[in-house]
């Protein structure tokens, strides 16, 4: 379970002054569900997810992940979370197996459990062929699989994906979306961010439209269609964002 409570994040930029990257964002995501954060570049998706993964600390508000407060117990939260984004790269001089084992050990797995878990994941993701290969020698698809294995090794109940298919080819992106779906089917709480409408339509149980750091609309795809009188998600998105801009101009 993820529960964001009035999350806000402010940065200070020398040239632009104070920047409100996230403002008063609240939502809930239950186990066995996928929550999709839909927004343009710079909308605040990454910052929100980084706060949930405790990589960043909120300026105001907080969030509960599996009952642990992201501000009070960040290490416990990280132990319950698998975090994957295009920015979470692999260590080039480690092999795929060493990479996954490293994160298993950091998550406190004992050696027999770790070995069993690694063998199981490598079998499931069909990674045995390149398990001894260094990460800098892997193809993009192999790297993505290794990253997935890294997030799964401690079997976290919560999965956070920050634009996980950004810049990937169709086949590799498909591996990721299949994996996200499997996570939901296995009862995990899944939250992911994207600006690709089709991904949201295919995957998400609940959609949150975020713009300029604010969560502007939330609901299932059906609820959003009904509320905004549009079938196409892209049209809904534009309508929601334009409404905010008109309000701001007024």
């Amino acid at each position: 379970m993820i529960e964001a409570r009035s999350l806000s994040k402010r940065f200070h930029d020398k040239k632009r002054g104070a920047i409100r990257a996230v403002e008063n964002v609240s939502f809930r995501c239950a186990p066995g569900q996928i929550y999709g954060l839909l927004g343009a570049n710079g909308a605040g998706k990454t910052t929100t997810l980084r706060i949930l993964a405790t990589i960043l600390e909120p300026s105001d508000g907080t969030a509960l992940v599996c009952g642990h407060d992201v501000v009070e117990e960040p290490e416990k939260v990280r132990g319950k979370v698998g975090f994957l984004s295009t920015a979470t790269a692999l260590y080039p001089r480690l092999t795929a197996q060493e990479m996954v084992e490293y994160f298993g050990r950091l998550n406190g797995l004992d050696e027999p459990t770790l070995k069993k878990r690694v063998d199981d994941i490598f079998e499931r993701l069909d990674m045995n062929e390149f398990r001894e290969r260094r990460c800098d020698k892997l193809s993009t698809g192999m790297k993505q699989k290794t990253s997935i294995a890294r997030t799964l090794v401690h079997d976290p109940p919560v999965m956070i994906f920050d634009e996980p298919t950004l810049g990937l080819d169709i086949m590799t992106a498909r591996t990721i979306t299949t994996f996200i779906r499997k996570c939901r089917n296995n009862g995990k709480t899944v939250i992911f961010s994207t600006h690709i409408m089709s991904e949201v339509e295919k995957l998400c149980d609940t959609i949150g439209i975020i713009h300029d750091g604010k969560l502007l609309a939330e609901g299932t795809l059906g609820q959003l269609r009904e509320r905004h009188g549009e079938q196409d998600l892209e049209e809904i998105f534009v309508k929601v964002v334009n409404a905010l801009q008109s309000k701001a101009e007024a």
Partner: protein
């Protein structure tokens, strides 16, 4: 602090470190092979070049002396000169290395010797040119011998013994043990080397583990794991410290071997075999342990400072541009310790880098000022502690970790 987690990070960083070719070069190959090659290679080359220069029979020009046939005859009798005919462009010929030197016999030189008046014989040579200096030295030696013979002849003519010229002899004798002598001569350099290599050894891993990690995009990966920032910093820090000490230790070891090989080489060439093992003897266990203990807090200081600064950079290249000026900040006090007359004083004991460099010099010459050593160790520990604290704090700053 979770020691197990620190160990996991350290082990992983170590695995990556030994697989990095740059590490192999900067930590192992350079200290192990560069110094012996430089020291032994250059010494052998210098010996060879000087030997060849000495073997050469220099071309010498004699200017004047037509009215001094005796001195000319004596000069011509010698077989270690080749006397060339007079040419008025002798200055250019010396500068162009066509001849090595020229000697000007003043007019009336021989008659001046006979009537007891003093004339000046001038030698022309090319200052700084080795072969020209050797040629000039040979002429000077000939003239001194000739002068001595003239004096002896004059004394003999007056029935005065030659011993009147040397009423007593003077002899200098070294009383310091050979290890102290060798320590004094090379100790400053060892101190300089230890300080410099503690820093250069730490530099590459410090960059790789901070700015390098940001550049490769693995910083966010590791920050998403449950390890605490403190354990993460410590795991990385111990690897940087390890690299720093390994570089310094390998360098001192290779220097010790090179020096002792050099001494053996020199002593077998001359006679003083007894001094051969002097340096080797003084790089014994006590010296090595003392230098290690004194260098340890400095290595901690360097490792923490370098990590902190490199963390501000977004890329390896940017970090290098931040840290290169640091090298000068370290080299200046380290070189200052090698200057003659710069000794360890209570005030200097508080100056980081310089104090460690000076104390290494003292240790190398077998002097142990325990009070100063305690002050230096304590003060450097404080500086190292502050630097490490800053490294922890910097790792907590989102604006630094996610600088864009």
């Amino acid at each position: 602090m979770n020691l197990k987690a620190v160990g996991i990070v350290y082990r992983k960083e170590f695995t990556e470190w030994v697989r990095d070719r740059r590490t192999l070069i900067s930590t192992v190959l350079v200290p192990l092979f560069l110094f012996p090659v430089i020291m032994l290679g250059f010494t052998a080359l210098a010996v060879e070049l000087v030997g060849k220069a000495k073997q050469e029979i220099p071309k010498i020009m004699v200017l004047g002396g037509e009215d001094s046939p005796d001195v000319l005859a004596s000069l011509r009798k010698l077989d270690n000169f080749q006397i060339v005919p007079y040419d008025q462009n002798y200055r250019e010929q010396i500068s162009d290395k066509q001849i090595r030197a020229a000697v000007q016999i003043p007019a009336g030189f021989q008659s001046a010797l006979q009537n007891g008046s003093t004339k000046t014989v001038e030698i022309y040579y090319y200052e700084g040119e080795l072969k020209s200096s050797f040629g000039a030295d040979r002429i000077e030696k000939f003239l001194k011998d000739y002068r001595e013979q003239v004096v002896k002849d004059r004394l003999a003519a007056k029935n005065v013994p030659a011993s009147v010229l040397t009423p007593f002899e003077i002899k200098q004798e070294n009383v310091a043990p050979p290890e102290k002598v060798s320590g004094s001569s090379v100790g400053g350099f060892i101190g300089y080397l230890v300080v410099l290599l503690c820093m250069t050894g730490a530099m590459y891993p410090a960059i790789d583990l901070t700015a390098g990690e940001k550049e490769r995009g693995t910083m966010e990966t590791i920050l998403s794991s449950p390890i605490s920032r403190m354990d993460l910093v410590l795991g990385k820090f111990f690897l940087v410290l390890n690299a720093s000490l390994a570089t310094a230790a390998l360098s001192v070891l290779s220097m010790g071997i090179s020096f002792s090989a050099l001494r053996r080489f020199n002593s077998s060439a001359s006679s003083g075999r007894g001094e051969a093992a002097a340096l080797l003897l003084h790089l014994g266990l006590k010296t090595v342990i003392s230098i290690f203990v004194m260098a340890l807090p400095l290595a901690v200081f360097f490792s923490a400072v370098l990590m902190t600064i490199a963390l501000f950079a977004k890329s390896y290249k940017e970090a290098q541009s931040y840290l290169t000026p640091m090298t000068f900040l370290v080299i200046i006090p380290a070189i200052a310790s090698m200057l003659p007359g710069v000794e360890l004083t209570p005030k200097l004991a508080f100056v980081p880098i310089l104090s460690t460099s000076l104390v290494c010099k003292e240790i190398m010459s077998g002097t142990y000022h325990w009070n100063s050593m305690a002050i230096i160790f304590g003060s450097t520990c404080v500086y190292a502690g502050v630097a490490l604290f800053l490294a922890f704090k910097t790792f907590q700053r989102e604006s630094v970790l996610f600088r864009s």
